[in-house]
Symmetry: C2
């Protein structure tokens, strides 16, 4: 199970992060995701982090990097399901999710991507 | 992270299983899912198992039980993303996913639930 599944919904890809991230897993995810953006001709990526109680600088950077890669491939990234405690921690730690849009949940994230509202 | 996130998409709920299941986690998932079916008035449940290389009798039973619970609450369950090797193992072990419909991927699963094609 050393692979985070990427689910396709129309022109969007959905990734649910629910395991502890480590270097290799993050790299595999980025590899898989960029490949899938190209093969599935995806226009948007949803990253669900509702299962995460903590987002440290490693995960924060991983998400930013993934969004940057998607952007180069002309896909927008929206992070959904962030827990209130995670938002507090991110601000307190001074971690900004550079170039990443956020939405409350998957439904709103899909709407945001469909109307092209996420920052590219 | 001792909780599998349940994502809502319209009247459907999506669960992606990507961690090793154990008793307590399975019980928490069933608790959460039945609660969410009621609170979100869901009509269908999608269980994505594309990350699973192996489905043993424990997971098989867990999926069947979850589907049975959903059925009582008037929601249909579709298992999506089963790997070919898992299908082979299930048949070889004589494990049938009782009362559970399957679809190749999330998109087809959503279509199946929307046209009411999944066995109730």
């Amino acid at each position: 199970m050393e692979r985070i599944p990427i689910l396709r919904m129309g022109r969007l890809l959905l990734v649910t992060i629910q395991v502890d991230m480590h270097d290799r897993l993050a790299m595999t995810l980025q590899d898989d995701l960029t490949t899938r953006i190209v093969t599935d001709r995806a226009t948007g990526v949803l990253i669900d982090i509702s299962a995460l109680d903590i987002v440290d600088s490693f995960i924060g950077r991983m998400i930013s990097n993934t969004a940057a890669m998607a952007k180069i491939l002309d896909a927008r990234t929206v992070v959904v399901g962030m827990q209130p405690a995670v938002a507090i921690t991110l601000v307190e730690l001074g971690l900004t999710l550079e170039g990443v849009s956020t939405a409350l949940n998957v439904e709103l994230g899909i709407k945001m991507l469909e109307r092209g509202g996420a920052c590219a």
